[in-house]
């Protein structure tokens, strides 16, 4: 690990992926694996951004469509599409992305607060941005991605069919 003369240059590893032409990153510690697209069972009455559930070696894992989550234009799933399996707290959740690019080491100092608006993605989901060479990598705050407004969304899903959530 590279060290400077004084102070420590802390680094973190980030899984970098592509979504609607943008480059995003999530901290590697919360990613347990990356799998190819597989048949996803649609779950009726779940929030809209929940694509469905999959069988991950005997476990039922919900899968989110990150495009829908961020309100980005919908896209086709291609051969490059992947599901990133993330573990946040006691939850395991899959996220569909357009492609997984690489794992990067980025210096923590290089992370800057997110600008108010990044290509339509609500700033609440973001942890920061960082430049890697020429490329701008948008770092996600996974907890927010999973939970922000998620409760309301579920509550609405309940109300729509006239049941208490």
């Amino acid at each position: 690990m590279a060290q400077k003369a004084e102070g420590i240059c802390r680094e973190e590893q980030v899984v970098v992926f592509e979504l609607a032409g943008q480059t995003y990153g999530v901290e590697i510690g919360s990613v347990s694996e990356i799998i190819r697209m597989e048949n996803i069972t649609r779950v009726p009455r779940a929030p809209e951004f929940v694509e469905g559930v999959i069988n991950l070696r005997g476990r039922i894992i919900p899968v989110l469509d990150l495009r829908k989550r961020f309100g980005l234009p919908e896209g086709e799933h291609t051969r490059r599409s992947r599901i990133i399996i993330a573990e946040i707290g006691s939850m395991t959740v899959g996220m569909i992305v357009d492609a997984v690019l690489e794992v990067l080491r980025i210096p923590v100092d290089g992370i800057e607060p997110p600008p108010p608006v990044v290509d339509g993605v609500d700033v609440v989901y973001l942890r920061g941005i960082t430049l890697h060479g020429e490329r701008l990598v948008i770092l996600l705050n996974l907890e927010k991605v999973l939970y922000e407004e998620e409760k309301e969304a579920l509550a609405e899903a309940g109300e729509e069919i006239g049941l208490p959530a």
Binding site: N39, T41, R42, V43, P44, R45, A46, V50, G52, V53, I54, N55, R57, G58, R59, I60, I61, P62, S90, M91, T92, V93, L146, L154, A157, G158, I161, G162, L163
Partner: protein, 702 residues
């Protein structure tokens, strides 16, 4: 001083003994003195006395000591059981339970003096009688003077004999502590603790509780039952500081005593454990040798295990089943591609064998999760007795099928509903004795609680021969309560009317007692039982009695389901809620205002298209498959695209992230690895079968 594990083992044992005592008391009350029952409760009290003493729960030890004294006199026929005594015994039992709660931190300090005083009064009565017939030669001296030789009572000799049969020896151990010893109580405690690790202490002189308080001269004696080696025990004891000498000698019983006891024992108790000793043919003298000839008797060996571990095992097996199915499929493909190649056959064979193994494994794990319903049922006799006393009713409470096994999750849930139902039976069902006699019925009412297997279910009946329920009264009450209008009420069948009993807040009681009649209960009962995929039904005959039938799944982990297809996805409908499947022409669907109905055998059923309920489009077809589902008396037609057949499915949760989704109760993994969602029929029915819908449907059926 004791670890959590030790305390929890102690509490488990205590729980078991409390149950033994409770059962025993009830039996004594019903059938009078039965030597076997007396023996059992004597031993239970004795065990609790010993273990609570060691654990340092002195008051519990004292209480059980007094109880033991009383039982001993009863055992020897010096005291006859009477009603007053039974009440005191139950009071003692309640005190014991309160002491237990004190240990677990669930209750405050308990006063034991009152009940001990009452027990002593009986004991004193028995002692006097004993003094009168003290000349009897074979009743050994009971009150041994301190420092004397530890004498054995008949019971203790019997216990020793049984120990021989189990392959244990009895030793008389004399321990002497240093005369300068400052902490005699601690030394005695350590000695007891050491000995408990080696075997069972059946008697101590001075008595254990005195020893633990340090009230002894420098020497004390215990009788230990153990399979350990004398040398080792001596060594262990000598490692305790301030112990100056340990003398150990085997306890010798006279030969005839041994023979008598062994013979008497086998005649008296037909216990399986003692089968090998039933015919002790060549018993010439030395009882110690018989055990070697007979071999070690069978013992029940158990291990306590966290349910979570079993759940994990079950999950792993679930995965194994899926992979096995995939392997099966692969073998099929190979067979069709390469014909009867040797290797293909081997693969086929392995796949088959693996199938058998996984099925076996699955079954065994399921069994490991099962517990006998006795776990819950055992609490009831006492409850029914107390209630009956309180209400001045005479009730014969019969339990059948205690040994029926159920998944432990199910067991945990059914306790409360059963208590509700039994209370109702006692309070509302069974009439007061005079009323029964006046009606030409036997004075004593009967409540029968019965559990048994039926196919993939466990059925529990609660049946009473009481006054039954007046259906017309319910009909009127339902109209009064505005649940239904008068005209409608007239049209409902008795069965439908009885269903109002399960409506929230519905009560028939004229007066609210503290037991029941507040109108909370039956709806809760139905909901609780519904939550575990069971259902409850009620049948009644006025003046003759009421019968409740509860049907429960054997397990919560696996259910049988009807697999259906809707919008390219597979859904599982729990078979317990599926009444029948039919095929209809789309034209047969009638529309009443917003709702659709179909008429089946003259009855109108609300119809829902599963595709629409789940947010997609219905598919038009020449014929429509309709699955008729039901919860209680409510029926709903569910239109689906295809029926795929029945299958056992392993229930998996949708996980915390999705939480509860209305209309779905979980998911399962199919043989091909795909996920199928399990439909919550209960939810669907309550969503689509509304009061007005039923009314409209009934109107349509006209």
């Amino acid at each position: 001083m004791f670890s959590d594990v030790e305390i929890s083992v102690f509490l488990d044992e205590l729980e078991e003994k409390i149950q033994v005592l409770s059962d025993g008391f009830l039996q004594l009350e019903k059938e009078g003195s039965d030597p076997q029952v007396l023996q059992e409760i004597f031993r239970a009290a004795h065990t609790v006395k010993g273990s609570s003493g060691v654990m340092g729960y002195d008051r519990m030890s004292r209480l059980t000591h007094e109880m033991e004294n009383l039982f001993d006199l009863m055992r020897q026929g010096r005291l006859k059981i009477n009603e007053e005594m039974v009440d005191v015994l139950f009071e003692a039992l309640d005190t014991l339970k309160a002491l237990r709660d004190e240990v677990t931190g669930q209750g405050g300090p308990v006063d034991i003096e009152g009940v001990i005083e009452k027990i002593r009064r009986f004991v004193a009565g028995g002692e006097r009688r004993k003094a009168g017939r003290a000349s009897s030669p074979d009743s050994g001296p009971e009150n041994v003077p301190p420092q004397g030789i530890l004498d054995l009572t008949e019971v203790e000799e019997e216990v020793i004999c049984e120990a021989y049969i189990r392959g244990q020896h009895a030793y008389r151990i004399q321990v002497t502590v240093d005369s300068q010893c400052q902490m005699k109580s601690v030394r005695a405690f350590l000695v007891f603790q050491t000995l408990y690790e080696c075997g069972e202490i059946i008697k101590a002189l001075p008595p254990a509780e005195k020893l633990q308080e340090g009230e002894y001269d420098n020497t004390f004696e215990v009788i230990l039952l153990t399979a350990e080696d004398i040398g080792r025990i001596r060594h262990l004891l000598m490692t305790i500081s301030e112990i100056v000498s340990v003398e150990i000698e085997p306890v010798v019983l006279s030969d005839d005593r041994v023979q008598d006891l062994v013979a008497g024992d086998s005649a008296e108790e037909q216990s399986d454990k003692k089968q090998p000793m039933e015919e002790p043919t060549g018993k010439t003298g030395a009882p110690l040798q018989t055990r070697e000839a007979e071999g070690p008797p069978k013992q029940v060996k158990t291990v306590r295990i966290d349910v979570e571990k079993l759940d994990n095992l079950m999950n792993l097996v679930g995965e194994l089943v899926i992979d096995r199915t995939r392997l099966d499929r692969l073998a099929e493909i190979f067979k069709s591609r390469y014909g009867s190649d040797d290797l293909v056959e081997v693969l086929d064979e392995i796949s088959n064998h693996l199938g058998q193994l996984t099925n076996g494994l699955q079954e065994q794990i399921m069994k490991a999760r099962m517990l006998p319903v006795a776990q819950v049922f055992n609490r009831f006799p006492r409850m029914v007795r107390d209630l009956a006393h309180k209400l001045g009713k005479e009730i014969d409470f019969v339990i059948e099928g205690k040994e029926t096994e159920l998944d432990r999750n199910v067991i945990e849930v059914i306790g409360d509903p059963l208590i509700h139902l039994l209370r109702n039976a006692v309070d509302h069902g069974i009439e007061p004795p005079e009323e029964r006699v006046a009606a030409g019925k036997p004075r004593t009412g009967t409540i029968r609680l019965k559990a048994f297997h039926e196919e993939n279910h466990i059925v529990i009946f609660i049946e009473d021969d009481g006054r039954g329920i007046d259906v017309n009264k319910i009909r009127n009450r339902a109209v009064e309560r505005g649940l239904v209008d008068a005209e409608m009420a007239e049209r409902l069948t008795d069965r439908e009317v009885l269903d109002f009993i399960f409506a929230p807040g519905f009560s028939l009681a004229e007066q609210v007692t503290d037991l029941s009649g507040r109108g909370v209960g039956m709806d809760v009962v139905r909901r609780q039982i519904g939550q575990i995929n069971g259902f409850v039904e009620l049948a009644t005959a006025l003046g003759k009695g009421t019968k409740l039938t509860i049907k429960l799944p054997l397990t919560l982990a696996i259910i049988r389901a009807l697999m259906v297809q809707v919008d390219k996805q597979v859904y599982a409908l729990p078979l317990v809620n599926v009444m029948e499947t039919i095929r209809i022409f789309p034209a047969a669907v009638q529309k009443i205002r917003q709702s659709e109905v179909i008429i089946v055998r003259g009855q109108a059923l609300p119809l829902v298209w599963l595709a629409e309920a789940f947010g997609s489009q219905r598919k038009e077809a020449a014929r429509v498959y309709v699955v008729i589902v039901g919860v209680g008396n409510q029926r709903l037609g569910v239109a689906v695209e295809r029926l795929l057949g029945e299958q056992e499915v392993v229930i998996k949760s949708l996980g915390n992230y999705l939480g509860r989704i209305p209309g779905l109760s979980g998911a399962t993994i199919l043989g091909d690895g795909e996920v199928a969602l399990i439909v919550d029929i209960r939810g669907l029915v309550s969503e689509f079968v509304r009061g007005d819908a039923v009314e409209e449907a009934a109107y349509a059926a006209g």
